[in-house]
């Protein structure tokens, strides 16, 4: 069974087709990178997968549970209430601009949702959060506020915050696009360490070398469709003209 399954997803903004019949499935433990030029619909696809954006038509399933399906008129119908909440527990999202809560300390950013949303035991949540911070190399920043951290540190906190809810799958929406090359490195290192822990990930990124290195599968999107997908080797040595012209600009990754 697929962890995530998106079928024939369509989404338009003001009549402008952004996603034109996209299908994507992700297995447990798989790491999928989505690459492509700006405006190709990569981020919109993630926003549809995480239900931040509602698709116009198509199906969205998590572990076989229907999050959205096509109604008789071809329009997507979404699961409501408790059902939707249950489905939402399956995934987490790391944003390009972190979106940490500025009025909470690093530790509180990570522990607030597990304690108040999942109603888990405080002590347990705190010790788990400290473990996560250690993994992120930020154990000395627990009591700091986000404004006191660098962009790279903020993004690592955001990753820890998403992980604290124990999602089955973690989405990354251009996690390093707001960072300079030095800070990018430290965030990519953390994401790589998650890969070693076999966490299922879908990553939208412009870091070609990173995508090539970390992914089981790469999806190349352009103009709202999937142009090509396959192993990193397949995509990076593709003979497809569109893929070549895009990757050409990155040299050989």
């Amino acid at each position: 069974m697929y962890l995530l399954e998106m079928n024939h997803v369509k989404k338009a903004f003001d009549g402008q087709g952004v996603l034109r019949d996209i299908s994507l499935s992700v297995k447990e433990g798989e790491i999928v990178s989505i690459i492509g030029p700006s405006g190709s619909g990569k981020s919109t696809l993630l926003r549809c997968a995480t239900m931040l954006e509602e698709m116009d038509g198509g199906e969205l399933n998590y572990l076989g549970e229907k999050a959205a399906w096509n109604g008789p008129d071809g329009k997507a119908i979404y699961a409501k209430g408790e059902k939707r909440k249950e489905i939402q527990k399956n995934y987490g999202l790391v944003f390009q601009n972190f979106h940490l809560f500025p009025h909470m300390t690093v530790l509180k950013n990570i522990t607030d949702a597990p304690i108040h949303v999942q109603k888990r035991d405080k002590e347990e949540v705190y010790s788990e959060a400290m473990e996560l911070l250690k993994k992120m190399g930020l154990e000395d920043k627990a009591e700091a506020y986000p404004c006191q951290l660098s962009g790279g540190q903020c993004q690592r906190v955001a990753i820890a915050r998403a992980l604290a809810l124990n999602p089955r799958i973690l989405f990354f929406d251009e996690p390093t696009s707001a960072l300079d090359p030095e800070l990018t490195g430290e965030v990519l290192k953390v994401i790589k360490s998650l890969a070693d822990m076999h966490i299922t990930m879908v990553i939208v990124t412009h870091e070609m070398a990173f995508a090539k290195d970390i992914s089981d599968r790469i999806i190349f999107m352009a103009d709202g469709v999937i142009v090509e997908e396959g192993t990193p080797e397949e995509v990076f040595s593709s003979s497809n003209e569109r893929t070549q012209s895009f990757l050409g600009r990155y040299g050989e990754g």
Binding site: H99, L100, P102, H103, V117, P146, C147, A162, L165
Partner: protein, 216 residues
């Protein structure tokens, strides 16, 4: 009349002014939040009604509003109100007027919040009330504090308007004393009182603003 006697009488008025000040803040601050929700409601009927209420409250003199609240029950409904209603009318008039101003301040703060905060909260599974009270509102408070300070300082001086419905607050007492004593001293003392009151308010608000500076 001795100065001490003047000051003693003024002190009585001062206490009424302080009462109006406190009651207004205690009730208009939460009511204003409720009104701002109505102002931002998805329901167009609620939104229109609240918008009208705010525009009347902001578009007509507070003194006039106090008179309507005070005389309204008798002229409009024929209900005889006792003398004790004066202060209540002042409370009601001030609360509904300031709630309108505070509502607009809340709205400006709430609408200035970046959408990313809502999206992050949604992804983490917060319910809508949790999102508002745990994430949005604490940040809104910090953002609107300078505007609230402005409003609170205006309120200190506005309490003197209760004079128009014969509530014996500070200003009414000072005016009566000034004419009976043919002296300017009661006015000077009253002015000093408002000034010191506002000084305390300003220092208090500055303290709160500093305490909110634990993050940028």
């Amino acid at each position: 009349m001795a100065l001490t006697k003047i000051l003693l009488q003024l002190a009585g008025g001062m206490w009424v002014s302080i009462q109006i000040f406190i009651v207004t803040l205690v009730f208009s601050l939460p009511l204003g939040l409720l009104v701002s929700f109505g102002r931002m409601s998805k329901n167009p009927v609620i939104r229109a009604i609240v918008k009208f209420y705010i525009s009347v409250m902001r578009g007509t003199p507070l003194m006039l509003q106090l008179m309507v609240v005070y005389f309204g029950p008798y002229y409009l409904l024929g209900i005889k109100v006792g003398n004790g209603y004066r202060l209540w009318a002042a409370f009601i008039g001030f609360v509904i007027n300031y709630a309108a101003y505070f509502a607009e301040i809340y709205r400006s703060g709430i609408q200035s919040m970046p959408v990313g905060q809502y999206e992050a909260a949604k992804l983490l599974g917060y319910t809508k009330p949790q999102t508002f009270f745990r994430i949005i509102f604490p940040q809104v408070v910090k953002r609107i504090l300078p505007s609230v300070t402005n409003e609170v300082i205006t309120l200190v001086k506005d309490t003197s308007l209760a004079f128009s419905i014969s509530v014996l607050e500070m200003f009414a007492v000072a005016k009566a004393l000034a004419s009976s004593q043919t002296s300017l001293i009661p006015f000077v003392a009253a002015g000093l009182f408002y000034y010191v009151f506002n000084l305390i308010v300003a220092v208090g608000m500055e303290y709160i603003e500093k305490r909110m500076n634990y993050y940028q």
